[in-house]
Symmetry: C2
Subunit: 144 residues, 2 copies
DNA sequence: TATTGTTATACTCTATAACTATA
DNA sequence: TATAGTTATAGAGTATAACAATA
């Protein structure tokens, strides 16, 4: 058997575990909102007026999931849907001012958590981690 | 705004998305079993006789989740629970020969998928990715 | 006829607490 | 009395298909 050189644990197991643990620590209490809500709002920060189909792709939700999540966000007055004048089948989703406030508060909580997670890494290592994860993200999205 | 130097997208978003996409692609059809079942069996491969509490920690499940998953595995004849003679409250969980077979088949499917995901990376980059993800995994497990 | 979003429905996963048996 | 595992239950999350409005 010789050198038991660190069995490859598997990306899937590692990513799955990390994702679960991150979700457990991103509670509604610390974020001020559900993680899913935060992920949608922070997407709206970078993409001011998007259709629901865009959100499906960006957040890996199905059409139904987007509707349900937006219902929650609108109930909290954090986002609004308005008809697209150019195609009245479409909605354009936007963040409200109070949505932005809530998102920025949650963003601070996210930064605090992530700072903990990478505190033992150098700046270079952090950049490398992001770069490599983005590569994985590109690859995993390919149909098959 | 000058240099839009790549806003830090956030580890949480990236990991969440990758995890979702990986799960979508790790179908029962390609693995021959559910991903959760595979993760448990591959843990048993490396830890031949474990208590259910060990599985809770290792797989980030609660006691109930372990019971339910083991029920499925036993129904498929892939694992067995036997009483620990030294403490009859405990179960020792073990993989059956057919469980090993099924696991090894699923392992090949996992390797195929992961090969795709890292195909654009050098050997060094792959090792670095694993190393850094393990650091994140250590850090995210800390209580708070 | 095709597309966007909605509703309705069911299925899976996860979390909680009460219960059994062993210590 | 405390622990390991189980059961029961409800809650959240996810997936499917039928539907309404608009193109």
């Amino acid at each position: 058997m010789g050198k038991e050189s660190g069995r490859e644990d598997g990306l899937i197991r590692l990513i799955t575990q990390i994702s679960k643990a991150m979700h457990r620590r991103s509670t509604e209490e610390t974020l001020g909102m559900k993680l899913k809500a935060f992920l949608l709002l922070s997407y709206l920060r970078d993409h001011p007026a998007v259709t629901q189909q865009e959100l499906e792709g960006a957040l890996m939700l199905d059409a139904n999931g987007v509707v349900l999540l937006l219902n929650e966000l609108e109930a909290a007055r954090w986002s609004v849907r308005r008809r697209d004048p150019e195609d009245r089948r479409r909605h354009l989703v936007e963040m409200t001012p109070s949505g932005r406030q809530a998102m920025e508060r949650a963003e601070k909580a996210r930064e605090n958590l992530e700072r903990e997670l990478v505190q033992d890494m150098s700046v270079d290592e952090r950049a490398t981690l992001y770069r490599l994860l983005k590569k994985v993200w590109e690859a995993v999205q390919q149909p098959a």
